[in-house]
Amino acid sequence: MTETVSALEGRIRSGHFGAAGSSGISVSEIQSFTLTQFTAWADAMPQAGTDIAHRAGCSAPAAPGLSTEGIAGRLLRVEPLRWWLVGNEPFAPSGDAAGRTHTVVDLSHSRVLLRLSGQSTAELLNHYLPLDLRNAHFQQGHVACSAIHHVGVTLWRDAAGFNLLIPRSFAVSVWSLLVESAKQFGVETVPWKYHSGP
């Protein structure tokens, strides 16, 4: 099978960078994920949510600002009428692009996915994101759409830390800003990791 080429190809060197000592932040790229967008027709709610949850293998559709883990991947509610499924299958779900209750758009390849963890991660992200990332306010499962350096990004938190979807064309620019900023905390970068299942 043909391998994809990441937008960050050749730009992630493995190792510890910046401030000496233990790394406050670890950053790795998650590759080989699929990204599928489901958008409900407003007049078809809540059936659309049920249908979308069914496609993602979730018991129920995630509420706005939240995500749920399903058999097909993590379902993020990115807008009131819109969900993104970050899938772990090699190909995005197929089917009619425009269905009775919702539409489907394959957005795979359009985003770069970073996973950030470590004790200083929220502080680093708050160098760019005007989001309240305190543990009590942005818990596991929470999702937010925001911007880093004017670039729209999608953030969610899970047991492994923070996950950040960045538009592919801006990925190098955002990556370099994040890593440069992270050096003051000490940062460990890992070339890439394949997306593991739920």
Binding site: T2, T103, L107, H127, P130, V151, S169, F170, S181
Partner: protein, 983 residues
């Protein structure tokens, strides 16, 4: 002033000596010193020169209100002017010097300007801008243009480095339940109260030590340490060296954290400063109060400072700032420092304006009643003070007192600046002779000295109250209490008819006479007073002179201070470095850069890149020694002869889905899409409401309810927003959804006579692209040899047989390499934006250079595309008479009359012999056409090509200095029938 460091005392760390340089001389201090305290300890008296009169200035305070010790520190790229020495933490290796002086602050040739001081009074600039009276009355500003440069060199406040800033600056966001500004007794107590109640508290303090006024009281040191420990234990997030410079809507505060202003060079990867945006539920302002001075003759001499500053130097830094000290006051607060200075060994005389009610003189202090300072004796230093006594509202000279230090306490001004940022109106409190913040509509609460309380116990109580208020809890009443004996307000001491200089705002050399002059010239509003005199402007922001200025204006108007009103304080409270405002958005990160999925691949093939909006696009692929022009010529020739491959990934791509998608497109585009068959693409143009062309591109019908719209690179975002607006606001009834898929697909253009052959060799089934299977404007899904599914359209921008292949971005390099491997067999090439431009100009195809937001369909020669059978956005207003005029500019091709000549884009097109004004049109695009063997261009010309048939025009380029004779021709200058792309 003969200051010296005492053998003991203070909270400096005497075990950590620090070396620093002042005006090229090596001096020493201790950890915990400020630059000001270290200079004082070393006996440095003159540390600056005033910005207008070049008067010698010494240290006047111990805090942010400093108006004298404004200095420059750092060398070369790290040189920073206008640093207040009183706020600059001393560090080993600090290099500082006095500014605005030559050769030095001790002997400054610029001081000669003081001789002409009477000519530089308030309004000097305004008057001379209008012409120097009386020589230029009514004649303009000729002289000003000459001496402006001299004045700008002589005046000013320091000089910034011209080198690039080597430091980094961060932006950051923080959130808390309660933000407490100021860590004096009130702030510490407020933070502790809120934290102990379970709130997340952020406590910010501009100093590098917590404690506020407790730092100046040796008896309170134990209490200070105890409170700090309690605050830390309670989990309060404490930020020292951090100034809250502004308050904004909804609990937002702007902070600047000086992360690394105390070492010479920031540690690796550490920013010099952080610019914080803090969002809080409630705010407690425990920002303290600033001690006021009094206006009297020569009150800016080195050796004059506020009484509380002397207290700080004595008790915090272990410095006795003088030996024969006169303390002039009108309130109780100076009594304590007078006693402490006497106890430390100084001869102290206390001059209290009050005669009836005041505290007892402290031990060892001589008390003079009913007198105030009239004039400082001495030029470079205080040698004595002449006093005055007031009788019946008039001042009379009194005795003189020999002294080397004059301490002044004219009352206290609570720091209400931040509250003022939120539109809280200052309210005058007569019993305290100061402004307090008026009521606020937001959850912002004043505490401590900022609320008019002047003793530690009351400050603590008010801090607790403010915190409880912020948490919505019931509060106990804390009576507004000043000192035991009431203040006797005094703002100026001046003999009748005196012309002596008495400074109201020393930082700007604004005198009491300037205030009176402003009044005399009709500037009676405080807002006008401020602007006419510059009182309280720039870095001072009214900290020192506002109240005195208002009092003098009130006196001149015969009013009370509250009747005159007060100016509003504006952010920033203290200066913010421009670097901190910029953050990391500098250099390569000035704006985000977009890279196509083929960016690295293009570079590996030798591409030179060019910016196109935020995108980096391949510009040209030079062979050995080729220039851009040579390379583009070769690439364009190759495309016309065999085949070329171009990265077109930056084109905007929008998925349009839903049962009403075709209807939606029909309304958006000027031409019809409703009947576009599945598997076909169509070139479409969309207009704005006003009938002007917005954007163009091809839209592909992938299924009955699924379209892929492409836009120009530059307008992709704008078009997406526009479509969203239409769907959400105008046509919510349409069942259509749109999404940007620009980043999902890499776009590859394969163009040229051999394009089909090259592409076919890369596909699983080459028969799919034979002419009968994929006609002109046909669209289909195809699979590469690697089985990757792609979208393919047979469209052409170059005018050649052409295809656009959209590949999932992650597979772009693989697809490009396959195509390139096969194209090389046909002697093909990679081509960039420059060659693309050549090809499209030859074909007369428009881009954003031609569709610049002013042109109509008819202007661009595209009027025939507009449907007459349906309405569409802009269809009504494009019929406006103005847009139908026959003499509007129309798209034309341009060729030189002499084919060897070259002309430039941007040139004005003028009738022969009439090169003037805006001409008859302009040239939008120019390229050397290999097909025609000459320079060609596109442009707009009044009336179009037919109106200028056979007439010579001049392409006038006054900026680059050339006039070239040209002719207007049809814009389609190559294969006008389009045979090549239809084959």
């Amino acid at each position: 002033m003969t200051a010296r460091r005492l053998e003991s005392g203070g909270i400096i760390d005497r075990t950590k000596p620090l070396g620093f340089t002042w005006d090229g001389r090596k001096l020493g201090g201790f950890a915990g010193d400020t630059l000001a305290s270290a200079l004082l300890a070393n006996g440095e008296m003159i540390v600056g020169r005033s910005f207008k009169y070049h008067r010698p200035r010494g240290i006047m305070s111990a805090g942010v209100e400093e108006s004298g010790a404004i200095v420059t520190i750092g060398q070369q790229a790290r040189q920073e002017p206008n640093v207040k020495a009183t706020m600059q933490e001393l560090y080993d290796g600090l290099d500082g010097w006095g500014q605005n002086a030559w050769p030095s602050v001790r002997f400054d040739l610029g001081a000669v300007s003081g001789l002409f001081g009477r000519f530089f009074a308030a309004g000097f600039y305004y008057k001379t801008f209008m012409g120097l009276p009386p020589f230029e009355w009514g004649k303009g500003t000729g002289l000003w243009m000459k001496y402006e440069k001299l004045i700008r060199r002589a005046a000013g406040m320091g000089a910034a480095s011209l080198d690039p800033d080597p430091d980094i600056y961060d932006h950051a966001h923080a959130f808390c339940d309660i933000l407490v500004v100021g860590a004096g007794p009130a702030g510490l107590r407020a933070a502790l109260t809120a934290a102990e109640a379970g709130r997340e508290v952020l406590l910010v303090e501009q100093d590098f030590e917590l404690g506020g006024d407790l730092l100046n009281d040796p008896l309170a040191e134990g209490r200070r340490r105890e409170m700090i420990e309690a605050v830390r234990r309670a989990g309060v997030r404490v930020m020292t060296r951090t100034t809250a410079f502004g308050l904004y809507d909804h609990g937002v505060a702007g902070l600047v954290e000086r992360v690394a202003d105390h070492p010479a060079v920031p540690a690796d990867h550490r920013p010099r400063q952080r610019f914080w945006t803090v969002r809080s539920e409630a705010i407690v302002l425990a920002t303290g109060a600033l001690e006021r001075t009094i206006a009297f003759s020569q009150n800016d001499r080195p050796g004059v400072m506020t009484a509380n500053a002397a207290r700080a130097y004595l008790n915090r830094y272990g410095i006795l700032p003088g030996h024969r000290i006169l303390v002039a006051t009108n309130n109780d607060s100076a009594y304590g420092v007078a006693g402490e200075l006497a106890a430390a060994g100084a001869e102290v005389v206390l001059a209290d304006l009050r005669t009836e009610s005041h505290p007892k003189a402290p031990a060892g202090v001589a008390l003079l009643e009913g007198v105030a300072p009239l004039e400082v004796i001495g030029r470079a230093a205080v040698r004595g003070v002449r006093l005055a006594r007031q009788r019946g509202g008039t001042w009379y000279p009194d005795e003189s007192v020999a002294s080397d230090l004059l301490l002044v306490s004219g009352g206290w001004s609570p720091v209400i600046n931040l509250a003022s940022h939120r539109s809280a109106k200052p309210e005058w409190k007569k019993e305290l002779a100061c402004f307090l913040s008026g009521p606020m509509k937001e959850p912002i609460f004043m505490a401590g000295a900022a609320a008019g309380l002047l003793c530690s116990e009351a400050c603590e109580a008010s801090g607790e109250n403010a915190a409880r208020h912020a948490m919505g809890l019931p509060i106990a009443d804390v009576p507004l209490r000043g000192a035991e004996h009431p203040i006797l307000p005094i703002y100026e001491v001046r003999l009748p008819g005196s012309r002596a200089k008495a400074f109201v705002d020393p930082q700007h050399d604004v005198t009491s006479d300037d205030v009176r002059l402003a009044h005399q010239e009709g500037f009676v509003s405080v807002e006008h007073l401020k602007r006419y005199t510059t009182l309280g402007m720039a870095t001072d922001q009214g900290k020192v002179g506002n109240v005195i200025g208002l009092a003098l204006m009130a006196e001149a108007l015969g009013k009370e201070i509250p009747e005159v009103g007060a100016t509003r304080f504006r952010p920033p409270y203290t200066p913010v470095a421009i670097g901190a405002l910029a953050g990391r958005q500098v250099g390569i990160h000035f704006k985000p850069i977009r890279r196509t999925p083929l960016h690295d691949w293009n570079l590996r093939q030798g591409a030179r890149m060019i910016e196109a909006g935020l995108w980096q696009r391949s510009w040209y692929f030079p062979g050995d020694g080729e220039s851009c022009e040579q390379s583009a010529k070769r690439e364009a020739e190759t495309v016309r002869r065999s085949v070329g491959i171009c990265d077109v990934s930056s084109l905007g791509k929008i998925a349009v889905l839903g049962p009403d998608a075709a209807e939606f497109l029909d309304r958006v585009y000027c031409n019809s899409f409703a009947r576009l068959p599945v598997g076909k693409a169509r070139y479409g143009i969309m207009l704005r409401d006003d009938g002007i062309v917005m954007d163009d591109g091809t839209t592909w019908r992938l299924s009955e309810q699924e379209f892929l719209m492409t836009t120009t690179t530059i307008n992709a975002g704008k078009v997406l927003s526009w479509l969203e607006e239409l769907l959400q606001l105008r046509w919510p009834e349409l069942r259509v959804q749109i999404s940007s898929v620009t980043d999902r697909w890499a776009g590859l253009s394969i163009a040229g006579p051999d394009a089909r052959a090259v592409l076919g060799e890369c596909l699983n089934n080459s028969a799919e692209i034979e002419p009968e299977a994929l006609g002109f404007l046909g669209v289909k899904k195809v699979r590469l040899l690697s089985c990757i599914e792609c979208l393919l359209a047979r469209i052409s921008f170059s005018g050649e047989l052409g295809f656009e292949l959209y590949v999932p971005s992650g597979y772009a390099e693989m697809a490009a390499q396959q195509l390139w491997d096969h194209a090389r067999k046909y002697d093909g090439c990679l081509y960039g934006l420059e060659a693309l431009d050549v090809l499209r100009i030859e074909k007369g195809h428009v881009t954003s250079a031609e569709l610049d937001g002013r042109m109509t369909l008819d202007d661009a020669g595209l009027g025939r595309m507009a449907s007459l059978k349906k309405p569409f956005i802009g269809s009504a207003l494009r019929q406006r008479p103005e847009l139908q005029r026959a003499d509007r500019p129309r798209l034309v091709g341009i060729i030189p009359k002499d084919r060897s000549q070259r002309f430039n884009a941007g040139s004005i097109l003028c009738a022969d012999g009439k090169v003037s004004g805006f001409g008859e049109g302009w040239i939008t695009s120019v390229a050397f056409s290999p097909a025609q063997g000459r320079w060609i261009g596109l442009g707009y010309l009044a009336g179009g090509q037919t109106a200028w048939q056979g007439k010579v025009l001049v392409a006038a380029d006054p900026v680059r200095g050339s006039n070239v004779e040209v002719l207007a021709v049809e814009p389609h200058m190559f294969d006008p029938e389009g045979k090549r792309m239809h084959d």
